[in-house]
Symmetry: none
């Protein structure tokens, strides 16, 4: 199952709506395909300029490792040197905290990931998941 | 003048409409702010996975040098070693061909850039410019 | 359609058999998936130590651009600064010559790429294509 | 003593058989020569796309430092900043945990390394060692 641009747009738009509803800070969201390549990204007005790299890092690490942000953070707490090394082998492109959400097909295969950033990591994950569910997809935070 | 996400969305959407009208291959488009940072990106279904880097490179070089794609290409034809070195100093993130379009305010200040890729460089620039004009902005190809 | 490890093994093994039949120098071959990620690689005894990067670069550029080695070489002949810049945006990981062969599904979608290196670029492409056809896949050299 | 492609294939195949016997998750395995260069790699169907970098990092650090994964992890627990710096000097290409297994000749010389990833680090090391022993080589986990 390939993730379409239409689905990606829905995820981002609905995640931003959730953020507005929760009164979160300005958000940025990226949607990656199953190979870790960008399908779509948006940064809300007022967000810091470097948000693409954070959103991308959350989603990229999730796809490349097949491990969502929450599991990555647990591993980083337990073995910080391991996640630091993972960051190195992936060219510095990973951020191991919530807000990196795996997208799974109904059969369980990873079909991509969403990276959301701007508020607390936990709120980021909630907004991402709302967007994913609005697109009728399965998210693993 | 800051470029809003709303403007960026309009640019991308209208550039894609122009591409459809011209029957171009699947397109990818990025909009960067005046600091060279990503505001929005979309890759159409069927485009190759690596299109973000190409779109980004076209726009990033334009902002960083204050020189649109056409001028960069002219310089590359004349002094290839110069544009190769520019690619190096900007961390490999520049693509000196049309499709990298500067966004200017009515007073002439650079307020960002659009990077468009997918078809020939010249067609890419035409589609990007159509998007920019639909957003009531001034583009320099 | 996902490329299986079994298919990847067949491609490499049959490409090496073709190389032996043609009395080519020791070969190295990589098979990447549709996201440009390594499924399998083998370097024959006697090949130079750096062959992984060459094989990988041929295949990686093909997947990321959706353009096989022959087309990349033509573009490099015409616009050397463009392919040099492409190398930069992809982190130095592309080699624009024959031997980078796109794998396509019967519907035409890119499902991966093979990178073969060790002999002349043209012989590399012939051996790669033999492996691909032995695996009942469609190659674009 | 040089490590042949035939030996490398045996190591990978037998490590995967051990993984199947132990009911491990999908595995990925790389075999590097004494110079840290890739001889062979395979990623089983269902493994995450980024597994090459993890397998490679485990094996590459082992060869470059002459220190297997278990010893590297002990050092990382004691001096995380040291292993972080090692990751940096080797271009981000090291992963200091079990599953990076040194290959030694009967005289004790390092002739290469195996990097295995996919399950827990300890299970990864067990599977790697099984492959190494099936190839009549000496492994140091």
């Amino acid at each position: 199952m390939n993730l379409s641009l239409r689905k990606a747009r829905t995820i981002i738009r609905k995640a931003f709506e959730k953020g507005a509803e929760m009164e979160l800070k300005p958000l940025s969201a990226v949607v990656l395909d199953a190979g870790g390549h960008v399908i779509a990204f948006e940064r809300q007005d007022g967000a810091a300029p470097g948000r693409f790299a954070i959103a991308h890092g959350k989603a990229y690490g999730a796809v490349m490792l097949g491990m969502a942000g929450t599991a990555q953070m647990a591993r980083a707490e337990q073995q910080p040197y391991f996640m630091a090394a993972v960051n190195g082998v992936y060219g510095g492109q990973t951020i191991p905290v919530p807000g990196g959400v795996l997208l799974r097909s109904t059969k369980g295969a990873v079909i991509g990931a969403v990276g959301l950033t701007g508020d607390t990591s936990d709120n980021d994950a909630v907004a991402a998941l709302a967007g994913i569910e609005a697109a009728n997809l399965i998210g693993e935070i």
